[in-house]
């Protein structure tokens, strides 16, 4: 897989999402839980807006000095016996990791949840060279068994319910028990335990790389990242180049924001930090450690109006409040990064050509911007994308262009505008019934497919106003 999931058209994806009542119910109730949790945790922490500000400042400072911090991180990891590889592209990252797998003659790789490895399509590459890759995050494991892409960046199998999961386990792994979540989880645990113990290599993502110490921090509720980093002899961390913080103190601020914003928890069950390979005087740690830092288009975002999109700490708070996401689900975005942050990031990482509809899949309600714990102005960035699509990419529809040219003429010419306020009622009369339009013409059609449109009144405001002025006010 890469950023883009498949080739289904935008309209078909939207229709498919809307028709999937089942998924929508699951998403809606999850959003409700996440929203309540986030708000109550923010309130309990107190001064949430100050915390957001601090989080945003840490991210801004880090990105503005990212060259310095990446160098520091790299030096620290090397000092602790790790190998650091800077991958400019997905291919470079995959090639490097493939080589490690080949050199180790590794048969089995166990992974913990990582969006960046989805982004670069790592699993596919490793399977192509004959390695068995096992996802150990429960949601990811379910999707892997079912060959289904993630629909959410924190809870990737959000679109599936327990009955569907039971079915997947039964078909793929001979599971014969109930759809009770505890039984399902116990089965997954038992299956995955064997994989943890037999894996040759552990591959994880990275929530925060701490530049001052070279430590990698992972945030989970299942403890799978701890297993994946504690058992195999060879460890590989794959991180997007922006997932870096200067100090432990900065990490503490961001982790406080992350777990609250993501799942409404003060802290997740496990926050795991680890450094490099086992040194000579140490008893624990892997024999061999690799940190792969992936650019894959990120450095092109630096210095642009979209730089703050790299603030993202992948909490999904924007996704959890998004009404568009609620009705169409994650797969409708056709990107491994769905929701508002996905609509912003996807065209940046994978180009406008395949994703030109995404920036418009938003009512610009700004719920995302308000929820973001690191203050990314998401809805404003969607407008910036639209400006680029219109003015640079020239990908907007012809009819829309004509309409907007007309708008500009109308709205910059007071006489023409004034005339239209007087004529609107007459112009719409052929379609008006009982003061409303139920089957509108042209651009009104999309509107009247789902709702009525009110007809202009007998007396316009301007007529009322001028009569009143003549009468010397009522």
């Amino acid at each position: 897989m890469s950023v883009k999931i498949g080739d289904v058209s935008y309209k078909d994806r939207i229709d498919k999402g809307i028709e999937n009542e089942f998924m929508r119910q699951a998403v809606s109730s999850a959003q409700g839980r996440f929203r309540t949790g986030r708000l109550s945790q923010a309130e309990e922490l107190g001064n949430w807006e100050d915390w957001r500000q601090l989080g945003s400042e840490i991210r801004t400072h880090t990105l503005e000095n990212i060259d310095y911090y990446l160098q520091q991180l790299s030096d620290q990891v090397a000092r602790r016996g790790g190998n650091v590889f800077f991958a400019e592209t997905a291919e470079e990252a995959n090639d490097y990791i493939e080589n490690v797998v080949k050199k180790k003659q590794a048969k089995k790789v166990v992974k913990s949840k990582s969006m960046v490895t989805e982004e670069i399509g790592l699993n596919h590459c490793l399977e192509n060279i004959g390695a068995e890759v096992v996802e150990s995050d429960l949601g990811e494991w379910i999707l892997q068994l079912d060959e289904d892409p993630p629909s959410h960046i924190v809870t990737p199998a959000l679109h599936k319910n327990k009955e569907q999961i039971r079915e997947t386990f039964a078909q793929k792994r001979g599971y014969d028990k109930s759809d009770d979540p505890e039984e399902l989880a116990a089965f997954a645990r038992e299956q995955l335990r064997k994989d943890f113990l037999s894996a040759d290599i552990g591959i994880t993502g990275c929530n925060f790389a701490i530049a001052e110490s070279g430590a990698i921090t992972l945030v989970t509720n299942e403890g799978n990242a701890r297993m994946a980093t504690a058992l195999p002899d060879t460890q590989i961390t794959v991180m997007g180049m922006e997932r870096i913080v200067p100090t432990w103190e900065d990490m503490e601020v961001l982790v406080s924001l992350l777990t609250r914003a993501a799942v409404g928890q003060k802290l997740t069950s496990y926050v795991t930090s680890y450094t490099g390979a086992r040194l000579e005087d140490e008893i624990d740690g892997p024999d061999d450690y690799h940190l792969v830092i992936v650019d894959n288009g990120r450095s092109k975002i630096l210095g642009t109006e979209f730089q703050s999109a790299l603030h993202c700490i992948r909490c999904a708070a924007c996704i959890n409040v998004c009404p568009v996401y609620r009705h169409v689900g994650g797969h409708a975005y056709n990107s491994i990064y769905p929701g508002p942050i996905g609509a912003v990031l996807t065209p940046l990482l994978d180009g406008y050509e395949d994703h030109k509809e995404l920036p418009y899949a938003s009512s610009l309600c700004a719920a995302c911007t308000e929820a973001c714990p690191v203050k990314i102005p998401l809805h404003e960035q969607l407008i910036r994308h639209r400006e680029i699509i219109v003015e640079q990419e020239k990908k907007s529809p012809v009819a829309e262009k004509v309409m907007m040219k007309g708008f500009a003429k109308w709205a910059s010419n007071p006489a023409a505008y004034k005339l239209s306020t007087k004529m609107a009622r007459t112009a719409l009369k052929p379609w008006t019934r009982d003061g409303n339009i139920e089957n509108g013409p042209g651009p009104l059609k999309g509107w009247t497919d789902v709702r009525d449109f009110p007809a202009p009144p007998k007396q316009s405001f301007r007529t009322w106003w001028s009569n009143r002025q003549k009468e010397g006010k009522a």
Partner: protein, 245 residues
């Protein structure tokens, strides 16, 4: 105090009563209201669709129209919110930057103006009926006006107020979004309509006619007889039960 009415194009063309009620409320609290006839649209339909050059033409007309105004007051959180974006749009433009700052600084949404500028929280209004309120997205999250409408509504005698479930959720209007993505917008407004029904309110009140036109249009399509009214209608009703003319 001299105040210029910014009626907004939606009310200028379709919702004349919103303009009338806004004028009458402002006069009741002692303002001298004028109506600069050269005003048009704030530019939001073009701006939000990515047509920045087209939007700017509209915005410049608005700056010209309100050049001499002391205060500009409009019955829409969204349209006034757009005026507040002008400084960002014209930043570094030697000809328009100052005018953009000026217009943004002197513009207010009607409830914001009453409560935050004039300090008026009780208009002595009476409105009998069960009322729920939809706080529109741009009013609350773009303009940042959260409390003023509620404060004013709380002081209207006779109002039986009931909270709208998940009130902060978007109704699906989103300007051109409603025609560009009608399927998604449709699902959003169906959900909003459902939430309104859950309140059993007779009146749905809001501060943005775009959103109210959307929710009202959907409820009419569903055959519901909830009346949809702009907040100025409630605030401008002194004795009788209300409802849009």
């Amino acid at each position: 105090m001299k105040v210029s009415l910014f009626i907004t194009c939606v009310s200028d063309i379709i919702f004349a009563d919103v303009g009338k009620n806004t004028v009458e409320i402002l006069e009741r609290v002692g303002c001298e209201v004028d109506f600069p006839a050269a005003q048009t649209c704030c530019g939001q339909p073009a701006y939000n669709s990515g047509y920045l050059q087209e939007a700017k033409k509209s915005m410049k007309q608005m700056m010209r129209a309100f050049k001499d105004s002391k205060y500009v007051v409009g019955p829409s959180g969204s349209c006034v919110g757009m005026l507040k974006e002008y400084p960002a749009v014209f930043k570094g433009d030697p000809e328009w930057e100052e005018a953009a700052n000026d217009l943004a600084n002197k513009s207010f949404e009607i409830t914001q103006f009453l409560v935050d500028v004039l300090g008026v929280t009780d208009l002595g209004s009476t409105f009998k009926g069960k009322v729920t309120y939809h706080p529109s997205c741009h009013m609350t999250r773009v303009l940042g006006v959260k409390d003023a409408p509620q404060t004013l509504l709380n002081n209207v005698k006779g109002v039986d107020f009931v909270e709208l479930p998940v009130k902060e959720d978007c109704c699906g209007f989103g300007g051109t979004f409603a025609v560009k993505n009608p399927a998604i917008s449709g699902e959003m407004v169906k959900e909003k309509s459902q939430h309104v029904s859950e309140t059993n309110a007779e009146y749905l009140v809001g501060g943005d006619m775009g959103c109210l036109m959307n929710i009202g249009g959907r409820m009419r399509r569903e055959g519901k007889n909830v009346k949809v009214v702009h907040i100025t209608e409630i605030l401008n009703t002194q004795e009788k039960g209300g409802g849009i003319a």
